[in-house]
Amino acid sequence: MGRPRTIPLTVVILALAGILCIVWRLATGMAGASPRMNGPWTDILDLTRLPRQTQEVLAVLLILPLGAVLTSLVRNVVGFQTFGTLMPNLLALSFLETDWATAAGVFAVVMLVGLGGRAVVGRLRLLIGPRLGLVLTATVLCLVVAISLADHLGLAMRTTSILLPMVVLTILVERFYISIEENGLGQSLKSLATTLAVSLACLALLQWAAMGRLAVRFPEGELFVAIGLILIGRYDGYRLTELRRFRDLGKDGEEPT
């Protein structure tokens, strides 16, 4: 089946550009080592000259696309569905600034209130918009009470770090609800579990310090990530899940011509 010629061409150009960048960087000793290029503009390409904190932020940004590669692999090559392609990445990002206990706490509250709230709110027979709003309200109330309670008990908590997870999780719960209406509970739970598993993997990637340093040193690595995404996007073979789904059709013998 004809594959447009632009695909291999794009891949080759991206790969050449990437390799060229790396070679140039190594040749000029720009890869983080001290003798730097002092050209007027070329130092823009050297991220290691930036302050340490900026570098850490850049490392996170540079690794995000890798998370997208992971999610696309799971969706298009393995065949498990996630809620949105960027959701696992976003979820991982939101939990990056939060310690594990807080993250687990916020997650538990949002999921429990969200899921329990659905059963109660479902009886009120509201339309979807207000219904989600109501669940969000209940979640907020629970979190506020929990935070106030923690303070009363003398537990210190960085409250700013729960804002982003809260927003992202609420979006996730909303997607989950809509999916229950559309695909049934079983399928939705499966997608939810996949989304969480993939975002844990994304989180591990984001926290991988060595990977971060490498990404800051060689930002042109993104070009190879782009190649990976293009190849996954054009993958027209069977998904892993299809090997199971179509197992009763499998045939031995000659391949038809």
Binding site: M1, R125, D236, G237, R239, R244, D248, G250
Partner: protein, 317 residues
């Protein structure tokens, strides 16, 4: 019950290629993008648009009793349905049978839907409101409610379908029927004939209109999962007419890969319910063969698709 089958957790890609199985990635990347121009989906995603097209082609469709477009219409539900005992409530843009309510009878104020418990007035109104607010439409877009005639199963199929209604799915490539299956509700599918809701699919021999084995929960089976009756050798009535109707519809909407769902009415013949521009792939399991060779032929001869002739009738909603 279903003949001893070997324990088989998966098949190798090589084996699936030999069987010519069309996978979902290949369908999405090559078939849909090359055979189905995006703007044309509107013609089949909206059931009212599909009906318009069918009427223009002289194809029979269920009679529309009412279309509810706004929330105040819900209060006038009684007036819309009058004293009809049987009718179908469905979202105009619903997919996969979601939100469809097949009403088999009425008990005072209550409605008795197929495969479910009776529903009071308030419950029905809430269901209508859910449809209007887009709970069952793709991407949650606001939708319309279609209230239409219920087509009964053909007597020849009643044995198979039980209380639910069996319909016929025909998959067409460039307007030619290439595969077909009967879709039969089961105990688990709640009266619905959608395969991913546990309905049973029965493969069809295109040339003769005879059934052969089936598919249920993605497994190839040879007997009905509820009744244990054999699935092959039954003759489906008005077979050639059904194929002709599907082909006429498909060549007129110019979607190169299309599934047409129709019911066979004892008196009227084939009645088209809806069409699907992203028809599912489980039909291959029902028919024990893959679609790949037909797809490759279609792609080889596919001209850049010409949109349906503009008869004003085909206005996108």
């Amino acid at each position: 019950m279903n003949a001893p089958r070997a324990w088989r957790p998966f098949a190798w890609p090589r084996q699936l290629r030999r069987a010519g199985v069309l996978g979902i990635n290949r369908r999405n990347i090559h078939v849909l993008t090359r055979l189905n121009p995006k703007p044309l989906y509107a013609l089949v995603d909206d059931k009212l648009a599909t009906k318009e097209i069918c009427r223009g082609l002289g194809i029979d469709v269920p009679e529309t009793y009412a279309v509810l477009e706004r929330f105040p219409d819900i209060r006038r539900l009684d007036r819309w349905i009058g004293d009809r005992q049987e009718f179908v409530i469905k979202p105009a843009r619903g997919a996969g049978g979601r939100g469809v309510l097949v009403v088999l009878g009425r008990d005072g104020e209550d409605l008795v839907p197929s495969g479910g418990r009776r529903m009071g007035q308030e419950e029905v109104r809430h269901h209508l409101a859910m449809i209007l607010s887009g709970a069952f439409s793709k991407g949650g877009r606001p939708d319309r409610v279609v209230i239409e005639e219920r087509i009964a199963s053909h007597p020849a199929l009643r044995d198979l379908a039980g209380s639910g209604a069996a319909d016929l799915r025909i998959v067409l490539l460039l307007g030619r029927a290439v595969m077909a299956m009967l879709r039969v509700p089961t105990k688990g599918s709640g009266g619905r004939a959608n395969l991913h809701q546990d309905a049973l699919g029965i493969g069809m021999d295109l040339a003769t209109g005879r059934t052969r084995g089936g598919v249920w929960r993605d497994r190839a089976i040879s007997v009905h999962p509820d009744t244990g009756k054999g699935l092959s050798g039954m003759v489906v009535p008005c077979w050639n007419e059904a194929l002709a109707v599907a082909e006429r519809f498909a060549s007129s909407v110019a979607l190169g890969y299309l599934g047409v769902d129709l019911m066979l009415d004892a008196a009227r013949g084939p009645v088209v319910l809806e069409a699907n521009g992203r028809a599912g792939l489980a039909i291959q399991i029902a028919n024990r063969r893959g679609l790949l060779s037909e797809v490759q032929e279609a792609l080889a001869e596919a001209q850049p698709l010409e949109p349906a002739p503009a008869i004003g009738l085909y206005r996108c909603p």
